[in-house]
């Protein structure tokens, strides 16, 4: 890769404006009307714009350069383009534009052809293998790495969205210094120089008493650097995350003697019982576990069974075959009750005769009576578990299980798994997850030593304790006692404000790194863009200080970049484990090429359970309302809160966006005279908070559930003041945070508040929308639950001689995780409209996931249905557009032509699925620089006043066809993937050519469960759904929608 200036060259006119902008000083000769010239030149001199043009970077992320006088690329100006498109719709003369070729062409750059770089994403709990798609040197879209054995090409909502955090306009542009006064409250922030920072730091480090406080780190190399650094300065490394999995480690230690987080195998389990563990939504590694879970349901005859005891309405609960609403204090009773049923009543397992066990289980003899479920069901569950010994899995974990008895719950769960001989089968202890070491107790110790004054310097990396650590820990005051606080955050956030120096780390997409996702499974983390600002990777900072202080092992001091360190580290430490018998260069290239090397450790065997641990497990008394704090699919722990995509993304279950709220059951709402949105005052552990109410069907009457991750104060324009910071309601007991089960006093303030909920109505009103059948029905009749209509048409329909694109959506696989929604947003430049406009019904999603409740409201079940443009053969929208802006293509697509649209909105009215979205305002214009760099240049940015909708990613179809064409071959089925399909962890979405009988989608269309939405309406959609099957031993579904309409 040559080192050159990156001069763009491109034939699109918004790009050329940019070039023109940078060269506006030299008027080029023109045959054109001079008046236009002036105006254009004026425009080009727009200072805002010039600034952008300067912030340019390399085509290859791997090379440095002096970076001045770069040219803006076409994407810089997508917005300008949008506005100009509007102007040019009138009559303008052609502007004079410049084309500025490269000085030397970097060989990896072909214009308009994306380069994919393998990388890794880690959010503190879940790690994913990525393919980052870059265009002319700029990451545009995050994809999953199909070669990655865990996520297999799928990605999570936040992995998709974190590309926006790269282009966040509020990232700090270089090192900064907070001038703190004695009380450490002064907030004057000045910019600093790296040299000064380093000098000050090294001076301080030499005084000793150093602590590196970081979030969970799953990068061996980074751990090595920190290790070397700690060795150099006698420092201590503390890892802490708000969503730690400490309870599991403690439970494992107490039960089996080794503190680890095992790897669960939901794909191997036939019966899955989850107690508060939201493994499909927010717990541990949801994407991977969702993949495993759905894999166990693809073969419907042998599909697994998911039973969820749900303390709040979690996504996992929404996907349960049997969901029992409980309150946190019942969690232990449920597990021990099951154990009692199995071990004592049924006398099953190797502990059957054990007296101490019997004694421990006795108190839980009659728990069924307390649960909101019929005893028969409970017994059946016990029988199922016994019948599937070794092929079942009981899991508990996550914030909703963090009661004062969190550890005991884990012990009980481990006991049950040992009884059922699942340990070593569906629970792999050898294959534990190395990254998940975050610990509250370590944090508590750190706070003690800070208060004792033994810690002088704190280096805080990738974690934000002053926001997400419960204030009751008293970290803020403790931190003030430190002499020097360094913070590597990308903004002056809650923690940043209390630190002396902000030493911004690279954004993950700008940084080298690696990851050990499962034992022995190593993946590489490549940068995809030259650092945009004057940032320095955390690792390099540590290395620099080691070098300056002349301390620490050689490798800490000798390397100039972290890349060199990493390479060296892989040579010495990783290759022996994962790449034997290769030259290192081959091994390294393979790692870069595939993004992942090695295989997960196998050979986990069952461990002996220490029965004495059981003695600690006692029934829990509960009183009144119990608080349940839980993370959400979108926000997680709240660290990515300034990404607007995540705020606008409706919650999978409640569908509410732009707020957190307290969920209460219907009965409780009536008792407290609460209406949806009414503000409710919660007092817990002496903290009082006011939150809007959401009336949640299927919630336990004594439960008040609140999401964490909201209420940021220093995250930025988007996040600040959205929702309430519920971390502050968390209590502390023996250095452990209590997220659930705390007693809450409530007061109805009767104040009104508007929650933004894009879904209008939550039941199907007996219409055939989401077809559902129980497994028993299905085995009798594969088309159970469907009312087939007599369809006739007076029109022969279109002829499709070439391809005919179609999509199949398997509702039995879909878990409603919403990853497709964000993927689509990222792929198709879909704007965010904000809370006010969501309330007004102006959201812009091309694909949405409808969630309907079925059955008894008090104990409602949920079904999900992704809905995108159905690309009807008899499209109602096409016939009514007066200007033919939406027309049928000969490949079955329903083309929407933005530049022809005048915006009568007739098509939207006439669309029975209401999947068309209208640009009520010039949303695109509101995208702040440099966030428009994330816009996809292949998809037109829509202006105000035009209609838009799902295009089946027609640009990908075109790209795929062109590629095949250039390579002189036929298209391969599955070669073209839509954005939503690519991201889906359950492979629920299949896209392809139905005219090719061998294609996967053609096969899916033959499926007996298949039906078209509003089939009787005969719009003849090219999207077909497959009915959902519920494995709940019932003869019929909760909702009966068969033939209830003509």
């Amino acid at each position: 890769m040559s080192d050159t200036h990156q001069h763009d060259h491109d034939h699109d006119h918004e790009h050329d404006h940019s070039a023109d902008a940078s060269s506006a000083s030299v008027p080029a000769p023109t045959l054109r009307d001079p008046r236009y010239w002036l105006s254009l030149e004026d425009w080009a001199k727009d200072p805002e714009f010039q600034k952008m043009a300067e912030k340019e970077f390399m085509s290859s992320p791997l090379q440095e350069s002096d970076g001045e006088d770069g040219w803006a690329r076409r994407e810089f100006l997508k917005l300008m383009g949008a506005s100009l498109a509007m102007a040019s719709a009138g009559c303008i003369r052609r502007p004079v534009q410049k084309i500025v070729p490269y000085n030397k062409q970097p060989e990896e750059v072909t214009f308009t052809v994306p380069n994919l770089y393998t990388s890794t994403y880690f959010d503190g709990s879940e790690a994913l293998g990525l393919l980052v798609s870059t265009r002319e040197g700029r990451p545009l879209k995050i994809e999953g790495n199909p070669k990655h054995p865990l996520n297999k090409g799928a990605t999570s909502v936040r992995a998709q969205a974190h590309i926006l955090s790269l282009y966040d306009p509020e990232r700090i542009k270089g090192p900064q210094r907070n001038l703190l006064n004695k009380a450490k409250t002064n907030r004057d922030t000045i910019s600093a120089k790296w040299d000064d920072v380093d000098d000050a730091t090294v001076k301080q480090l030499n005084k000793g008493g150093v602590v590196v406080l970081s979030g969970a780190i799953n990068s061996p190399a980074t751990r090595a650097v920190i290790g070397d650094f700690c060795q150099a300065f006698g420092a201590k490394h503390v890892t802490w995350e708000p969503l730690a999995h400490e309870e599991i480690r403690h439970g494992q230690k107490a039960s089996y003697g080794e503190a680890l987080v095992p790897f669960y195998r939901f794909d191997k389990a036939k019966v899955i019982v989850s107690i508060g563990a939201d493994f499909l939504g927010t717990w541990m590694m949801p994407t991977t576990y969702t993949r495993q879970f759905s894999a166990g349901r693809k073969d419907i005859e042998k599909m697994n069974k998911l039973v969820v005891f749900d303390p709040h309405y979690s996504l996992t609960g929404a996907n349960a075959d049997v969901r029992i609403r409980i309150k946190p204090s019942q969690q232990i009773s449920v597990v021990m009750g099951l154990a009692h049923e199995i071990v004592v009543k049924k006398g099953f397992g190797r502990f059957a005769g054990n007296a101490s066990v019997k004694a421990a289980l006795e108190p839980f003899a009659g728990v069924v009576s307390q649960l909101k479920m019929e005893p028969a069901l409970f017994v059946k569950l016990a029988e199922d578990l016994i019948a599937n010994k070794g092929k079942s899995l009981v899991v508990a974990g996550g914030l909703p299980t963090l009661t004062a008895q969190a550890q005991e719950l884990q012990i009980a769960v481990n006991f049950l798994n040992s009884v059922l001989e699942n340990d070593g089968e569906t629970i792999e202890s050898k294959n534990s997850l190395p990254g998940l070491t975050a610990s509250y107790s370590e944090m508590a110790d750190l706070i003690d030593s800070l208060n004792k004054g033994t810690v002088k310097t704190v280096i805080i990396h990738r974690t934000n304790p002053l926001y997400s650590l419960p204030p009751s820990f008293g970290f803020k005051d403790a931190l003030k006692k430190a002499d020097l606080v360094l913070y590597t955050g990308d903004r002056n956030d809650e923690t940043g404000l209390q630190s002396d120096y902000l030493i911004p780390d690279h954004h993950p997409l700008e940084n080298w790194g690696d990851a050990e996702i499962g034992r022995g499974l190593f993946s590489i983390h490549q940068p995809t863009i030259r650092p945009m600002y004057d940032t320095r990777s955390f690792e390099l900072s540590l290395m620099t200080w080691g070098y300056l202080a002349k301390k620490g092992p050689k490798r800490l001091q000798e390397f100039e970049t972290f890349y060199d360190y990493l390479r060296q580290f892989w040579k010495t430490d990783i290759q022996p484990k994962a790449g034997k018998g290769k030259s290192f260069d081959d091994f390294w290239d393979e790692a870069l090429q595939d993004g992942v090397v090695g295989t997960q450790a196998s050979g986990s065997s069952s461990r002996t359970f220490k029965t004495e641990a059981l003695s600690s497990v006692k029934p829990v008394q509960s009183q009144g309302f119990e608080l349940v704090l839980h993370p959400t699919v979108a926000m997680g722990d709240g660290s990515l809160a300034n990404v607007a995509w995540l705020h606008e993304l409706p919650d999978p279950v409640t569908k509410i966006c732009w707020d957190n709220y307290v969920s209460v059951s219907i009965a409780t709402a009536e008792a407290l005279k609460l209406k949806e949105g009414m503000l409710l005052e919660l007092t817990v552990n002496g903290v009082t908070k006011e939150l809007p109410t959401h009336i949640q069907p299927g919630l336990h009457d004594d439960v008040l559930a609140v999401a964490v991750g909201y209420g940021r104060t220093q995250a930025g324009k988007v996040a600040n003041g959205v929702g309430v910071n519920s971390y502050e309601m968390v209590g502390v007991k023996k250095g452990q945070a209590i997220y659930a089960g705390a007693f809450v006093e409530v007061k109805n303030t009767h104040k009104k508040y508007l929650l933004a909920n894009p879904q209008g109505h939550h039941t199907m009103e007996g219409r055939q929308i989401v077809v559902e059948a129980t497994l028993k029905e299905y085995l009798k009749n594969p088309s159970a639950g469907q009312h087939k209509h007599h369809i006739f048409s007076i029109w022969s329909g279109h002829a499709y001689n070439g391809h005919k694109w179609a999509m199949s959506v398997d509702l039995n696989s879909c878990t409603g995780c919403n990853a497709c929604v964000v993927a689509c947003q990222s792929e198709n430049n879909i704007p965010v409209v904000g809370k006010k406009y969501v309330i007004q019904g102006r959201e812009m999603y091309w694909i949405r996931v409808d969630r309907y409740y079925v059955g008894d409201p008090a104990n409602a079940q949920a079904v999900f249905q992704p809905l995108m443009c159905q690309h009807c053969d008899n499209a109602p929208c096409e016939s009514v557009c007066p200007v033919a802006a939406t027309v049928h293509s000969d490949e079955g697509l329903n083309d929407m032509i933005y530049n022809r649209c005048v915006g009568t909105r007739y098509c939207a009215n006439n669309c029975p699925y209401k999947v068309r979205r209208f640009n009520w305002f010039n949303f695109a214009k509101l995208i702040e620089k440099p966030m428009h760099l994330a816009l996809n240049p292949d998809v037109t940015v829509r202006v105000r006043g035009v209609m838009e909708k799902c295009s089946f990613c027609v640009h990908r179809i075109k790209a795929g066809k062109t590629k095949a064409n250039l390579e002189k071959r036929e298209l391969v089925d599955g070669e073209i993937k839509t954005a939503c399909q690519q991201v889906c962890p359950t492979d629920a979405i299949v896209f392809g050519d139905v005219n090719n009988p061998k294609s996967q989608v053609a096969q899916m269309f033959k499926d007996k469960r298949g039906y078209a939405l509003l089939e009787e309406f005969h719009a003849a959609p090219n999207v077909r759904y497959q009915a959902k099957i519920r494995n709940n031993d019932q003869e019929g579904t909760a909702h009966d929608n068969k033939g209830s309409h003509s």
Binding site: T4, H5, H7, H9, D10, H11, D12, H13, E14, D16, A19, S23, V26, A28, P29, T30, L31, D69, G81, L84, A85, S88, G90, C91, R93, R94, V96, Q97, K98, I99, V100, P101, Y102, N103, K104, Q105, T110, F111, T112, V113, V887, S889, D890, E891, L893, D895, I897, Y898, N899, R900, D938, V939, T940, S951, V954, H955, K958, T962, N965, L966
Partner: protein
């Protein structure tokens, strides 16, 4: 009927009394004529979209920073188009060659020419040359060079006899009509979907 006729009769008698003078009418009529003419010319001249050809920059031949002569390079020196525009087969956009491409020859060829020296300077300074763009499509049109090349469409079909051009100029009007006209020819088997060019 009768009554109506009668009514007209009556008024007719009345109007006989005064002679309506029609000078004012003629005057008014002229005024209206002038106004109408003015209006029409205004509408037409204000927007050249209504005048076929105009507004499509056909024949646009701006002066370039360096008077690059295609006829010299192509006709005389027999250099293939793709030697310089080397991405045209792979990319949607055909590329203007990087300076390094020019220098492949011009490190030795015609080094005394002031223009070549200008290129040389830019090359050494790691700068570039700002060519004036000739062929422009609005940004809602996505033309794909590689697809057309793969179909065996000559550069000349759209760009005209480039090999004879001393200064490059826009040969075709590049209007939508012009594109569609070619796509419509059955022998071309070209797609006619809107999404072929717009999405």
């Amino acid at each position: 009927m009768v009554s109506l006729r009668a009514s007209f009769a009556i008024v007719r008698n009345m109007s006989k009394i005064r002679i309506g003078n029609n000078t004012s009418f003629r005057l008014g009529f002229r005024v209206m004529l002038v106004m109408f003419a003015a209006l029409t010319t205004l509408t037409l001249s204000s927007c050249d979209k209504f005048q076929p050809g105009i507004g499509y920059n056909r024949g646009y031949a701006p002066e370039q920073p360096i008077p690059f002569d295609h006829s010299l390079h192509v006709s005389q020196n027999k250099i293939q188009c793709q030697y310089c525009h080397n991405q045209v087969e792979r990319s949607r956009d055909s590329n203007i060659p990087a300076l390094s491409t020019c220098m492949n020859c011009h490190l030795t060829v015609k080094t005394d020419s002031p223009w070549i020296q200008k290129v040389r300077d830019a090359y050494d300074k790691k700068k570039s040359i700002e060519w004036v763009k000739v062929h422009m499509l609005p940004d809602h049109v996505q033309f794909n060079h590689s697809a057309h090349i793969a179909r065996g469409v000559n550069c000349q079909t759209c760009h005209g006899p480039v090999e004879t051009m001393q200064r490059i100029f826009q040969f075709s009007d590049l209007s939508m009509g012009w594109c569609v006209n070619c796509h419509r020819q059955p022998e071309n088997k070209a797609p006619l979907n809107c999404s072929t060019c717009h999405n």
